[in-house]
């Protein structure tokens, strides 16, 4: 039996079907909660923002247009809510206090190491990497969501993965030379490719 697509579900919901919305909620409750949870240090706020995302969908169901995927639509709302939340935290927090470090309830050493490595990435590159790895968005979806060219998404994703690999390597502590090494790897392989074409 073929599952109904997200787009068909939201169109049914636009027509008044509550079960269609419940199905959407069941599909995206977990991913959206994970989206907020990995980016905020407050479990309750993550839950609240996940609910606010669905409330925004209910309130603005008439605004959805089938030209974009429901997944992109939902994460677009989530990104806006997250940006507003971060602005609010920045305003409310005392100067010098870092509120952006998320913590999950049973973080192992490996996860703490991973989070610290992620925190070392540039914000735009980290966001692209997380959208790809955790939200499983395609390059085109990330490009639409962040309003970037798809090639920019791809190159930034590659840079962030290589940089993260350097930060996670056990024999490379601070990783100061990691970005340089990323550039070296890419340059070397592009150079050899260009030489091959010339031959």
């Amino acid at each position: 039996m073929t599952a109904i697509s997200d787009e068909a579900l939201i169109q049914e919901f636009q027509g008044g079907s509550q079960p269609a919305f419940e199905e959407l909620f069941a599909r995206y409750r977990g991913p959206l909660y994970g989206f907020f949870r990995r980016r905020l240090n407050n479990e309750q706020r993550a839950e609240d923002l996940m609910q606010e995302t669905f409330l925004a969908v209910i309130r603005g169901s008439a605004r959805y247009q089938p030209r974009s995927l429901v997944r992109t639509y939902l994460y677009g709302i989530a990104m806006n809510l997250l940006a507003a939340e971060r602005r609010k935290q920045f305003r409310d927090s005392p100067p010098g206090q870092d509120t952006s470090e998320p913590e999950t309830h049973d973080d192992s050493d490996a996860v703490i190491w991973l989070r610290q490595a992620l925190a070392k990435l540039d914000e735009p590159e980290r966001e692209i990497l997380m959208l790809r790895e955790y939200e499983q968005l395609s390059y085109a979806e990330i490009a639409e969501l962040l309003r970037l060219p798809i090639n920019t998404v791809r190159s930034r994703l590659f840079r962030s993965r290589m940089a993260l690999k350097g930060y996670l390597a056990p024999d490379r502590g601070a990783g100061e030379q990691t970005p340089a090494r990323v550039a070296d790897v890419a340059r070397e392989m592009k150079l050899t490719r260009a030489e091959g074409e010339a031959i």
């Binding site: 008044g16 209910i58 008439a62 490996a110 790809r132 993965r161 392989m189 592009k190």
Partner: protein
């Protein structure tokens, strides 16, 4: 040293792992991957990064639907399906998503509006100064009115063209300005006007004389002497004529009315008279009427000023009196100017003189030499080149600021559209 040839870029390898390559590129990548150890190592590293990232899991959220969502869902009434963009998309969302762009465009638009409206604002400021004049003290307002009604000195220097007429310009500068009757006290003006009327009818006299003379330069110098003798001045003077053609001088001369006949006799002696005409316009009744209206308006102004000074009443009444006073003062200024103009026209008669040179054309028998023609052509060419370069520079300077401004205004929207188009093409 042997280098491995990579037909696949590392980013393409990553895209292959993410399932983002087209089928043919994916096949080529898989083939290369099967035989390239370096790429295999890169793939292993990329997979290891993804594997590490997957280790960060989050606790599951509550499975039940939150009450707030359930309530909102129960209260939800479906709207029209697929609404238009205008109805469906709120300004708050639009602004929220593109606040930076909107703020930037708004700032640029405000700058453009300010730039465009600055001269208008300045003019408005000047106009508002003119309005506040009415709220000054009566003495101050009278002083301002006197300043405004004083006429500027007559234009003595006339435009000149041609090669031999600098003396005329000097002559025009040397002419004494006519007496400005309005600059004096008001009582003096009134007595002068009364004298004008009492001395007989007020006639504006105009004469026109056209001469032909063989000695053009001498006639021009004599004209200057005649004007100086009769205390006249040049109203307007035009002189022209090229080498090898007849020269012409046409001038509008102003002489005291009682000196007109003597002046005309002397001017006619400068050459052969081709035509002559005289007219006289009687403006006595108009002048008397104007003076009567002016007196009435002054009386009205005094009464209104007394009202403002001595009476108290509602603010609306005071404002109405001020408006009426403003209107009456405007009329007085207009009539004063008219009266002064009429007095000047009566006191000074106008002579329109035209002196033409009696010129005999000579046949030019020596043609210009080839060298001169070549030299002239070279000079003309050089001048054309310089004019072209200067013209181009002027054009660029004149449109440069506008182009910069519009470039700044349109840069970000154009870049936004370009990115969208490129993204759509890429996807």
């Amino acid at each position: 040293m042997n280098k491995i040839i990579h037909p696949i870029e590392p980013e393409e390898l990553m895209a292959y792992l993410d399932g983002e390559l087209m089928a043919d590129s994916a096949t080529a990548t898989a083939e290369h991957l099967g035989e390239c150890r370096e790429c295999q190592r890169l793939v292993t590293e990329l997979r290891s990064v993804s594997q590490n990232l997957k280790g960060w899991t989050v606790e599951p959220s509550e499975a039940v639907m939150p009450t707030a969502i359930a309530h909102a869902l129960a209260a939800h009434h479906p709207g029209p399906r697929n609404p238009s963009w205008r109805r469906g998309r709120g300004w708050r969302e639009l602004l929220g998503q593109r606040w930076a762009t909107v703020a930037w465009v708004g700032a640029v638009a405000a700058a453009v509006l300010l730039t465009v409206n600055m001269p208008l604002l300045r003019n408005r400021g000047a106009q508002s100064w003119g309005l506040t004049k009415n709220h000054l003290a009566p003495e101050k307002a009278a002083e301002l009115t006197r300043r405004i009604t004083v006429n500027p000195p007559p234009q003595l220097a006339a435009p000149l063209n041609g090669r031999n007429f600098t003396q005329l310009q000097q002559f025009a500068e040397l002419q004494p300005a006519p007496p400005v009757s309005s600059a004096g006290p008001q009582s003096d003006r009134s007595s002068l006007d009364q004298n004008l009327v009492a001395n007989g009818p007020m006639i504006i006299r105009t004469a026109q004389v056209s001469l032909i003379t063989k000695e053009f330069d001498k006639a021009r110098a004599s004209l200057e002497a005649i004007l100086r003798r009769h205390h006249g001045y040049v109203g307007e003077l035009n002189a022209g004529g090229n080498t090898g053609s007849r020269r012409t001088l046409s001038a509008t001369l102003r002489v005291p009315a009682d000196q007109l006949d003597a002046t005309l006799i002397e001017i006619k002696a400068l050459g052969r008279v081709e035509s002559e005409a005289q007219t006289g316009q009687d403006v006595t009744s108009q002048y008397v009427d104007l003076q009567a209206r002016l007196g009435n308006a002054r009386n009205t102004e005094e009464r209104l000023t007394d009202l403002l000074r001595n009476r108290t009443g509602k603010l609306s009444d005071v404002l109405a009196v001020e408006q009426e006073l403003d209107r009456v003062r405007g009329e007085i200024e207009q009539m004063e100017a008219e009266r002064k103009n009429m007095s000047t026209q009566v006191s000074y008669a106008t002579v329109n003189a035209t002196i033409t040179e009696d010129y005999k054309a000579e046949l030019q028998v020596v043609p210009p030499s080839t060298f001169n023609r070549l030299s002239n052509a070279a000079v003309e060419g050089y001048r054309g080149m310089v004019d072209g370069v200067v013209g181009l520079a002027l054009f660029l300077l004149s449109i440069g600021p506008s182009m910069l401004l519009w470039g700044a205004v349109l840069f970000f929207p154009a870049r936004l559209l370009w990115r969208r188009a490129r993204r759509r093409f890429a996807s």
